[in-house]
């Protein structure tokens, strides 16, 4: 019926299990959370509805129940380098990316959608964003990204992939469309951009060039203090060792 993959099997067990995992092991500092209520709120955002008519604010209750503050100077935004970000963030110890927050952690890598006039999840297929923008997963991440940006403070870090053809700073993209517009100027002291190449990958973009330059200009125009660092230099050093 739809072009995308169906709902992840055992979605409920995964979401609830990850919730307890997060509050008990990953980040006990967030305190007590009602994981069953969090699952219910998550589910009610999209079940029994037209799967092409799910809006970001349908997840409002879910966000309210799973929300916790993000420590200042720990926010890490990124594009096109999920694996590197996962290793970079050190499971929330060095930085707290969206996937290191409770609301991001429970949904990371999962897929889901419901059906109109049925309380069941659709395990067969789900709409892609090309088929309709207002689908359950897309709206979730839009809401989660906006929330994450709104509550970020201090020094903000952005990790971009310098090996990607088509731009380290993609437009349209989550960072461009849902995160930058939701940053709170009075809470952000500085924005630090890192352009990192894939390990043993090509160096296509760097600070001050192409899309990175576009990003730097946009943020400066918005009034932010911006710095940019390339890791390409590290590769040069290692090559020099030969």
């Amino acid at each position: 019926k739809w072009k995308g993959e169906g709902t992840t099997q055992n979605l409920e067990s995964i979401v609830i299990g990850r919730c307890y995992d997060y509050i008990g092991i990953v980040n006990p500092a967030v305190g007590e959370k009602n994981c069953s209520a969090i699952w219910e709120a998550f589910k009610n955002a999209f079940i029994n509805k037209d799967p092409c008519n799910i809006l970001p604010n349908d997840y409002e209750l879910f966000i309210n129940l799973s929300f916790h503050t993000i420590p200042p100077n720990k926010s890490l935004f990124w594009e096109n380098n999920q694996l590197l970000v996962n290793s970079f963030a050190g499971r929330g110890r060095r930085y707290m990316s969206l996937a290191d927050t409770l609301f991001g952690f429970v949904a990371d890598y999962l897929n889901w959608c419901g059906q109109a006039n049925s309380a069941g999840l659709d395990y067969e297929s789900c709409p892609t964003t090309e088929e309709c923008e207002n689908n359950a997963v897309e709206s979730f991440w839009r809401k989660a990204s906006a929330t994450y940006a709104q509550h970020s403070s201090g020094v903000i870090h952005v990790l971009l992939n310098g090996s990607v053809v088509g731009g380290a700073y993609p437009e349209p993209g989550f960072f461009a469309d849902y995160e930058i517009p939701n940053l709170q100027k009075d809470k952000v002291s500085e924005i630090v951009i890192w352009v990192v190449d894939d390990i043993e990958g090509p160096d296509i973009e760097s600070c001050g060039t192409h899309t990175v330059k576009i990003l730097e200009n946009r943020l400066k125009t918005l009034g932010y203090d911006v710095t940019c660092t390339d890791n390409y230099k590290s590769v040069m050093f290692l090559l020099c060792l030969d």
Partner: protein, 305 residues
């Protein structure tokens, strides 16, 4: 002598009285003796044993199930035949209601059977004293698998559990430390899982060791040094590649030519493995440098050679 009829009845009564008293006394004595003989050191009401380490993880069942489904459904769908409920049950049966100082590898056999899966050749990554770095590496480069990247290790990582003979059979307050008793649920689990992980390795095996540790990069007392190297199968494993990493800006306590590495090499060579060793394996060092881009060890070199 002539009978006095009243005294016969009186004698009967006193015989009865004395008899009952004796019987009563005997009963009391019997009860006292019985309780003395069977008396055990039991507190009033069931109480759990107290240990020095943290107790069983709260909501253990939900956490384990969530991780199992996460791993199987979301990450490695080719393992779709794994039954997470059965896996949870087998884990629970391994320790529930048991004395946590008395756990054996037999207790974990059913779990190990259900949860182990084959590892592709050339992908096994062993490690010692490099937990943070090695797991950051496998998160960014999914070409290698540590034990904690297999289903068994993924479920158990940073989780704790132990049982107790009294209800409800699981001790959420505390669990034994290794110093309190060796055969505790956690130590037995990890030793067994490590052994199986080493046994499953084939082709080239990688090992990440820490050259900035004072006590030496290779230690015979570590799980790597005491279990894993002895369970690599010489019929399946062709080579062992050692990556000896130094902390950026950390001491260079040992390198590939160091004492403990020589010892490791001789142990492995004796078992017919070909060994190579590299100081600061480049892709891993690049990952370290991403976090320390301004450190002198990571800066652009000034002299061109």
């Amino acid at each position: 002598m002539p009978f006095r009829p009243g005294s016969a009845r009186a004698r009967q009564r006193s015989v009865l009285l004395v008899g009952s008293a004796v019987l009563l006394a005997a009963l009391v004595l019997a009860v006292v003796l019985a309780s003395l003989l069977t008396h055990e050191k039991q507190e009033v009401g069931p109480k759990m044993m107290k240990w020095k380490d943290r107790g069983t993880t709260k909501n253990l069942r939900e956490v384990i199930l969530g991780r199992c489904y996460s791993y199987v459904m979301a990450r490695y769908p080719e393992l779709g035949d794994k039954d997470c409920l059965k896996i949870w049950e087998s884990l629970k049966q391994a320790f529930i209601y048991k004395n946590p100082c008395n756990i054996t590898s037999e207790d974990y056999e059913p779990l190990m059977e259900l949860a182990t899966h084959p590892i592709p050749c050339n992908k096994s990554l062993l490690w010692s004293k490099t937990s943070d770095l090695v797991h950051r590496y496998t998160k960014s480069n999914q070409n290698f698998l540590t034990l904690e990247d297999t289903l068994l290790g993924y479920m158990a990582d940073r989780v704790s559990w132990c049982g107790d003979p009294s209800d409800p059979g699981i001790n959420y307050e505390s669990c034994p430390k290794r110093s309190e008793c060796e055969s505790n649920p956690s130590s037995v689990f990890w030793k067994m899982a490590s052994k199986l992980f080493a046994e499953a390795a084939c082709g080239v095996v990688q090992v990440m060791l820490n050259g900035s540790v004072e006590a030496g990069a290779f230690r015979s007392s570590s799980i790597f040094g005491s279990i894993e190297i002895f369970n690599l199968n010489p019929d399946k494993v062709t080579e062992v590649h050692i990556w000896l990493m130094h902390d950026i800006g950390g001491p260079q306590s040992e390198s590939c030519s160091g004492h403990s590495i020589k010892r490791l090499k001789s142990i492995l060579e004796e078992r017919n493995f070909k060994i190579t060793c590299v100081d600061n394996y480049r892709p891993v060092q690049l990952l370290q440098c991403v976090h320390n881009p301004d450190h002198t060890d990571c800066r652009l070199c000034t002299n061109t050679t």
